[in-house]
Symmetry: C2
Subunit: 316 residues, 2 copies
């Protein structure tokens, strides 16, 4: 039994044939022709799928698609995807005209959450929260093994939980969202601020004196060698991320919170600090189950595997 | 078909016979004998139930119980209830020795949420968030018509979502929880602070010059007659409550958020202000469904009806 997993990104579209164990048996890639418009992109996806699998294959059970933006998973319509310049695109319906199979579409962060829950680091748990810390903060919720997307699949916008009323401005229009504190963008902002306030910091040497070279690694790497200003940036990041995670723990009481995105390359260094921050702040303490904190493990294939999971999770 | 609903409070225990439409056909009450200990209280509950219904009645399908504190609804054990002085009390098991029926136990806020969702103001919706604004802020989550309690039923602690990192101290040990801004306790604190800062405020007259008489109504009532300091208190309360509600909207995208507790006696005056606060701050705007804001309508019977709902929701 195989499902196709489609990972639509702003730069490229990745497609894989995924078996019921979550292994990719074949994959392919095509550039995202944003200028070509939705019909062109959907045709490119269909061509790529048909180059990988025969639609008459009885083991081919369906197509799962992860797409950025606001998706209505009940209808398979992409209501809005800014980086694709899509508005009200009936993705599932249009693709089904080329390939008549069961098709499910969901938001890319939701899909990554499902992939980790089914086949990645979360596979031994039933209830997990997934946070991806990148340019923004994306989120996904898996409850009792199923993706929870909220009404019209417009929920699970976990990065847009305000942690600081009147705090840092967020791209969403509110102030103080988790995204404004826990994204790589926020980490870079705080790193730059700390460097400007401390011209002696070893962070300057790390970037060869060029503040525009600051990325999400700088504060973490310099913190490891004891730089005080770098330490303060890491503590700030851990504090806000920890507070956000504790909020989700109090709402969902998940067995695990899984972190993805570039910042997680810090691995245990980040995880130990987060565990330390959260351990005495768990609501109800002795009477309340704790949550594990884990790093996502599917890497670049998470999108394909998770998208296939939209179909495969229905067949379990 | 009838279910018994039991509402355990720190002062009294209320029991009702509830039909499948959520109507109470008979009810009774007994003082909560906290000093007598759990066995005495459980016996009192059994006696009260048996005075209302014959356990051999084939229409009597089960007993639902709402209890304050940390409850494991899967086992029916009250892990901790501070105001009852209970620790690890096997409530369902012990009661079933007196009355051999299906017994379900849940947290009192969860039960109230279920009651409103099944039989109250939320009955036309499938997905609702319930917030009760009292001494603290309690919460309940109903997804697809079912109570969502989280792992070991220790989730849905919606009042303990931090809205202000490093903010006002909360009883839970963290700082800045929604409870520390949106409870009646917080409203009273802010009202007193505003009065101390403005000796000319009409709020002083409202309480006859005695600041210890301040309750959750003072700022609202004086705001209606245009008192500036009272207005500022109301705006503060609406702002933090609005931010908390928007957070839940972004996570769950519920069809409605239902507010209970004494503060809601303000009715439309509060609701209009909240709607106004939230309307331009909904994530995704045109592409994202809005949520209704409603006042709970079951009043004092919410506990009994919601508790019975624990059983009746299984039979739908």
């Amino acid at each position: 039994m195989y499902s196709i997993g489609v990972d639509i990104g702003g730069m490229s579209i990745k497609v894989g044939v995924v078996d019921r164990d979550g292994s990719i048996v074949k994959k392919g890639k095509v550039a995202t022709d944003v200028a070509g418009g939705p019909h062109k992109i959907i045709n490119d996806i269909a061509d790529l799928i048909l180059s990988l699998i025969d639609p008459k294959d009885r083991d081919f059970v369906g197509i799962g698609i992860g797409c950025p933006g606001a998706i209505n998973s009940a209808t398979g319509v992409v209501d809005r995807a800014f980086n694709l310049k899509w508005h009200k695109v009936a993705l599932a319906e249009e693709l089904s005209r080329r390939i008549n199979k069961r098709i499910k579409v969901s938001n890319d962060a939701n899909v990554a959450a499902l992939g980790e829950a089914m086949y990645g680091v979360g596979r031994t748990y039933t209830d997990t929260i997934f946070l991806t810390l990148g340019t923004g903060v994306g989120g996904g919720i898996v409850l009792n093994g199923k993706l929870y997307e909220g009404n019209e699949s417009k929920g699970a916008e976990l990065g847009h939980m305000v942690l600081v009323v009147d705090g840092e401005p967020c791209t969403c229009g509110r102030n103080g969202c988790m995204e404004a504190y826990c994204s790589a963008t926020a980490l870079i902002r705080e790193t730059k601020n700390a460097m400007l306030a401390d011209k002696q910091s070893s962070m300057w040497g790390f970037v060869g004196g060029d503040i525009e070279k600051v990325d999400g690694r700088v504060a973490f790497e310099c913190s490891k060698s004891g730089d005080k200003s770098a330490n303060a940036v890491v503590d700030y990041f851990v504090k806000y991320l920890g507070e956000g995670m504790l909020n989700f723990a109090n709402i969902f009481r998940p067995q695990a919170i899984i972190l993805g995105g570039g910042v997680c390359a810090q691995g245990d260094y980040l995880i130990y600090k987060l565990k330390d921050y959260c351990k005495d702040r768990n609501y109800g303490f002795a009477n309340t189950p704790r949550f594990d904190i884990l790093v996502a493990q599917l890497g670049n294939d998470a999108g394909i595997i998770g998208a296939a999971g939209l179909i495969l999770s229905e067949l379990r």
